[in-house]
């Protein structure tokens, strides 16, 4: 706390020294749509001072009084210059127009020199153009799938949206949608992410040198900002694909004052997969995403945004059976004994699974002065999962009737209410100070079950119900932060930040002091050396036992027994942009994780969730790696080649009960990873996109042989050795001998995805046909490996065999898009 006060005094002293200067501030927007431009450059050609717009398109630059020439530029837009004599604080709002000439002949990635210009290592702006030109599964262009192709990011099972950054776990990524954390980021067990590209304006990805304003996860931050909506005219797009359809519409409500943007996506997965399902099953799966944003500009100083994300997945599986007959007593026979008749029994049973995200947020931008910009956000986040199963049986015979109905429900919910206040303070051209406070109220309602029983026998009703409620866990998370992007001299920049998080649960408080330091040294304008240190902490964890994303995966807060996880990361890199349109970078990192969680040996989340904190142990992890990136940002061909060399492992005390205290590799410890992404613009009508990924194998825990387990009941009962061995039938059949965790490295995976798009300008719209191919050459990549010791008829195999399961073969798909 003492350090924070010292830092605040330092900032105040800087502002006091800027009294003979004046400030130029304003918004930079797109001329056609009035959409704010994030990251646009403002540069004074006289003094060589510059700044960039923040995430709301606002800029502020303080200069000496006198004549100035300010240049406003953003890649893909025509630069503008303003010459003026500065004698007082001035507001200059700039409208940049798109560079149409450039667009006709070239594709631009809109991130030229990004690596050289930003102060921190490991940060990346991912423009929507790139996302839209990255081919992926079933033609679903996707934010997360694009991230998976960047260096340092590993994907989980091929095709899924799970991602693992620099050796961190899948729950260590902070995914923010307009500033609100999203807990469940995927649909269909991870194969689609919840972000529809049409709604996204900009994605910023951090894997090291985390700005102090981001807290709560240890491995990465994905900051997704959605479109504000066109202030000038209504336009949109409509796309029909193999499994999903999407629509996007944006436009003014009150011209130049109020605008909206709405995007929606839904699926017809069950209709497409119906031929593959059994006839007696009524299978249904459906999801939707809805992004809505309304913004109103009160004045140049005040702007209000309301955004809403709502997503829902629904699955059901119903069966009907009328083949069974039951025998019921009806009257008496000649010997005065009950007479039995056979009556057909109608039986229905099924399962339903629903899970949903509901995230509304309200933001208010206020310009207090030309140097002080404030953003206040209030958001609410509700994740809910409901699983139910039922069975129903009935019969009717003469005056006899029976109706029985059993239903069981399982619910799990998380509610977050957040208030965030962020301030951007620009006391001088050499300092951009950000500070603020972030408060989150968590309500974890882990598990609630309900059951309903209806019994109607010959019109006599005996209905009952029972309910069990999990104990909710309330937590308060308060973060305060301050950071300064300090331009020491022309060639040296620092980003100094500090954050303090207080996590309070019941009567237990955890405080975490998290310093962040980055420096950039640019001896030449095309060469930069960077280094950073950051500490992150995490107070919530995701309980899961499967490598795939399940709706039942449970987010839980730390407890009085489980301390917050922390990550200390040192990162450094070299960035080179001498060649026009090319960017080269090399980054290295060393990350130390503490209090990282693993299930104790023999424990698993499947069914154990009640007292989960007893089932896990805290240990340490170390990740290190080198990341190489060559990127072409302009021209007919754009894209990148990324190579990652990495190593990540975990170590726990012997007493913790994890892997006998031996070090073991992290599940997604893949030594080599190559990603090649390319977009070719053949001509105005045709473009081709492709990506190729290569991974050395991830780790898996496999059974190597069989061993004897003895229970308190003795050995005979527990020897899972098969029928007749010790005289008992060993129905468990799987007393695996696993000498160490992640004892097997899966074979390499490689996947080629390609897509071709045909553009045609129609009278009122543009039509785009896209054909894409996932896993073009049908590589049999391993998704799972397991020991098969029983054949398909349940007979024990004399020689158990290892089986590899490949989930996703070659999958072609198409999308037809109309832009109007």
């Amino acid at each position: 706390m003492r350090n924070i006060l010292a830092f605040a005094l330092f900032v105040l002293s800087l502002s006091a020294g800027a009294q003979n200067k004046f400030t130029v501030s304003g918004y930079i927007t797109d001329e056609k749509s009035s959409e704010t431009v994030i990251g646009a450059t403002i540069y004074d050609t006289e003094t060589k001072h510059g700044t960039i717009t923040n995430v709301f398109g606002f800029y502020s630059i303080t200069l000496n009084a006198g004549k100035h020439s300010l240049s406003f530029s953003y890649v893909g837009y025509v630069p503008q210059n303003k010459e003026f004599i500065l004698s007082k604080d001035t507001v200059i709002n700039i409208k940049l127009s798109e560079n149409n000439e450039l667009q006709e002949i070239e594709v631009t990635a809109k991130k030229e020199d990004a690596g050289v210009q930003s102060t921190g290592t490991g940060s990346m702006d991912i423009p929507v153009d790139i996302i839209k030109h990255t081919p992926s599964l079933l033609g679903e262009t996707d934010v997360i799938k694009t991230l998976q192709l960047t260096p340092g990011v590993q994907q989980g099972i091929g095709g899924s949206a799970a991602f693992y950054v620099r050796g961190g776990g899948g729950d260590e990524n902070l995914v923010l949608l307009d500033g609100a954390p999203v807990y469940k980021i995927d649909h269909l067990f991870g194969f689609f992410s919840v972000f529809t590209p049409e709604a996204v304006k900009r994605v910023t990805f951090y894997k090291s040198a985390f700005p102090a304003r981001y807290n709560g996860r240890t491995s990465s931050v994905v900051d997704v900002r959605t479109k504000d909506g066109d202030m000038k005219k209504i336009h949109g797009s409509f796309a029909v694909g193999l499994l999903t359809s999407r629509i996007n519409l944006e436009g003014p409500i009150v011209k130049d004052k109020t605008s909206f943007s709405v995007s929606a996506r839904t699926t017809y997965f069950s209709a497409v997969t119906k031929p593959f399902m059994s006839e007696d099953s009524k299978f249904g799966y459906w999801f939707y995403d809805l992004n809505l944003k309304v913004n109103h500009k009160f004045s140049d100083k005040d702007r209000l945004f309301f955004s809403l994300y709502s997503g829902l997945d629904k699955y059901k599986d119903d069966y009907k059976d009328d083949e069974f007959e039951i025998s019921i007593p009806y009257g008496k026979d000649y010997d005065n004994r009950p007479n039995y008749v056979h009556v057909p029994l109608d039986e229905k049973y099924g399962t339903k699974l629903n899970w949903s995200n509901f995230i509304p947020s309200l933001r208010w931008n206020h310009v207090f002065s030309s140097k002080l910009f404030a953003n206040t956000t209030v958001n609410y986040n509700h994740y809910k999962m409901n699983m139910s199963s039922y069975d129903e049986e009935s019969y009717k015979y003469d005056t006899l009737s029976y109706y029985g109905y059993n239903k069981s429900e399982y619910n799990s919910e998380i509610e977050d209410l957040g208030v965030i206040m962020d301030f951007d303070y620009m006391p001088s051209p050499n300092h951009t100070v950000k500070f603020g406070v972030n408060y989150l109220y968590h309500n974890f309602m882990p598990e609630t079950t309900n059951s309903v029983i209806k019994n109607h026998e010959n019109s006599v009703k005996t209905d009952t119900s029972a309910s069990m409620k999990g104990k909710p866990a309330y937590a308060n998370e308060l973060s305060v932060y301050a950071e300064d992007d300090w331009k020491v001299c022309e060639k040296l920049n620092f980003n100094l930040g500090v954050s303090y998080t207080l996590f309070s649960l019941k009567n237990k408080n955890y405080g975490n002091f998290q310093p962040r330091v980055s420096l950039k040294f640019s001896p030449l304008n095309y060469l930069a050396f960077k280094a950073s240190y950051s500490r992150m902490s995490q107070c919530v964890h995701l309980l899961t036992s499967a490598p795939i994303s399940l709706p039942t995966d449970l987010w839980v807060p730390i407890t009085d027994k489980i301390k917050p996880e922390t990550a200390d990361q040192i990162s450094c890199g070299v960035y080179f942009t001498k060649l026009k349109s090319w960017e080269f970078s090399v980054e290295g990192y060393y990350k130390k994780l503490e209090n990282v969680l693993e299930y104790k040996d023999g424990m698993s989340y499947l069914g154990f969730s009640g007292a989960w904190s007893n089932l896990v142990a805290s240990g340490e992890g170390v990740s290190k790696g080198l990341e190489f990136l060559v990127q072409k940002t302009e021209g007919r061909t754009t894209g990148w080649v990324a190579y990652t060399l990495s190593k990540s492992d975990r170590e726990f005390d012997r007493s913790s009960g994890v892997n006998d205290g031996k070090k073991f590799p992290f599940t997604y410890d893949r030594r080599h990873n190559i990603n090649i992404v390319a977009a070719f613009k053949i001509n105005e009508k045709i473009d081709i996109d492709m990506s190729w990924t290569f991974y050395t194998g991830a780790c898996a825990t496999v059974t190597q042989s069989k061993l004897q387990i003895v229970s308190p009941d003795g050995a005979d009962y527990q020897v899972y050795t098969g029928y007749g061995y010790y005289g008992y039938y060993g129905y468990h059949g799987n007393a695996s001998y696993v000498p160490t965790r992640n004892n097997y490295r899966l074979p390499c995976s490689h996947t080629l995805c390609a897509g071709i798009s045909f553009h045609k300008q129609k009278k009122h719209c543009e039509r785009i046909w896209n054909f894409s191919f996932y896993n073009l050459y049908n590589a049999m990549n391993p998704s799972f490996v397991y020991l098969k010791d029983y054949d398909d008829y349940g007979h024990e195999l004399s020689e158990p065999k290892f089986k590899k399961i490949t989930i996703l073969p070659l999958i072609p798909s198409f999308t037809l898009t109309y832009k109007f």
């Binding site: 199963s389 059993n406 069914g607 003895v710 696993v738 160490t740 004399s798």
Partner: protein
């Protein structure tokens, strides 16, 4: 959860392109010496189970040499076993002793050294017929507790630190009946594992298991909170873990007195109920042929260490089918506490009470014609 995984498995089957055999290039892990056993303090005979890992099943080791040291003194050497690799230890050890077991076989050497836990104190048991209450079984069908005992257990924690216990509820029962059809007497004895419930106030929830695969869970009164530790009160729907082996820790009563209320089902084979008080007979000969009931309940508290506690919890997971999805979750690594090989040698201190509830009990004969009643078992043997 299982249903969720099954759904994913269905999706996998839609998208799956192939399953194929692969060669695993890894070290040969067969032949790892594996020593297991629950060794009880002050017990006349303890059994060590010695095997080695095998490709498809463990292989008994019959040429091992076992040495047992108590407080650093060699107490016993054993080198003979039966064909199943069972080695009998006849020397006793006591609570708080430091016991070391060394096993060698074909130049392999494994060992385990630990302090024997302290025995639970002030252990007492009281058994009474349970009051009749309605409950739901695992299929959420309602039943009545008309055949149950209430077993009230009390003991003192061995210290105020972290301590771990296991509840033992075993019984033997026998019914000696006359087979009218074949004209002979026969005795049927069943050994049944107990029913488990760890009580907190009057809330009741428990599980039962028998050798016949008869699994039930029971609610009486208010249902417990899911978040309560050690209750294992997850419902059928979430495919919770049954506490088959009845382990618990002292988090609720550290340093104090623990009161458990356990309900156990009366289980005479073919008749899940108390023996009848009377039985109708037609002749003097029938009186001689009345069934004879014997029923002995064993109730005990075992003191175990933390490693054993988690090992047994993992066994609960095995029993509950939690590890049945290893195709998706990967193989589960089990705990081991022996050094140099694998297996678990567990030292236990326990106090067990034997309570004879029926000792050659015969129902009182009542002359009159036999009626159809609920005592199906007797009818079965009398008439067929």
């Amino acid at each position: 959860m299982k249903k969720c995984i099954l759904f994913f498995a269905a999706l996998v089957s839609v998208f799956m392109s192939c399953r194929e055999d692969i060669e695993l290039k890894m070290d040969d892990t067969t032949g790892v010496l594996c020593v297991n056993g629950f060794l009880y303090a002050d017990c006349d005979t303890n059994v060590l189970y010695i095997t080695e890992t095998g490709i498809s099943r463990p292989v008994p080791v019959t040429n091992a040499e076992v040495k047992m040291y108590v407080n650093g003194v060699l107490k016993e050497e054993v080198s003979t076993s039966d064909n199943s690799g069972h080695y009998l230890l006849k020397e006793k050890f006591s609570p708080n002793d430091v016991v070391r077991i060394d096993v060698t076989s074909n130049s392999r050497h494994v060992w385990r050294e630990a302090t024997v836990p302290e025995c639970p104190k002030d252990f007492s048991v009281e058994i009474t017929p349970a009051p009749e209450k309605k409950y739901y079984d695992s299929y959420i069908e309602d039943y009545t507790t008309d055949n149950m005992y209430k077993i009230e257990v009390s003991f003192s924690d061995v210290s105020s630190g972290k301590n771990y216990y296991r509840l033992l509820v075993d019984k033997t029962s026998s019914v000696t009946s006359y087979d009218y059809h074949h004209d002979y007497y026969y005795a049927d004895t069943v050994y049944i594992d107990g029913v488990e419930y760890i009580s907190h106030k009057d809330t009741a929830y428990y599980e039962m298991k028998t050798h016949h695969g008869y699994n039930e869970r029971l609610y009486i009164g208010e249902a417990p909170s899911l978040a309560d530790e050690e209750m294992n009160a997850t419902s059928e729907f979430t495919d919770g873990i049954y506490n088959y082996y009845k382990v618990f820790n002292n988090s609720r009563f550290a340093g104090g007195k623990c009161n458990l209320r356990v309900y156990d089902i009366v289980h005479f084979d073919y008749g899940n109920s108390f023996p009848p008080e009377t039985k109708k007979v037609n002749s003097e000969k029938d009186i001689e042929r009345l069934p004879v009931y014997s029923y002995t309940q064993y109730v005990g508290i075992e003191s175990i260490d933390e490693e054993t506690y988690y090992f047994i919890k993992a066994l609960n997971g095995y029993e509950s089918g939690s590890f049945d999805y290893q195709e998706l979750t990967g193989a589960i690594k089990m705990r081991r506490n022996v050094e140099g090989g694998s297996g678990n040698i567990v030292f236990v201190s326990r106090d067990v009470k034997k309570i004879v509830l029926y000792d050659n009990y015969k129902p009182a004969p009542v002359f009159g014609e036999e009626e159809d009643d609920d005592d199906y078992s007797d009818d079965y043997y009398y008439n067929y």
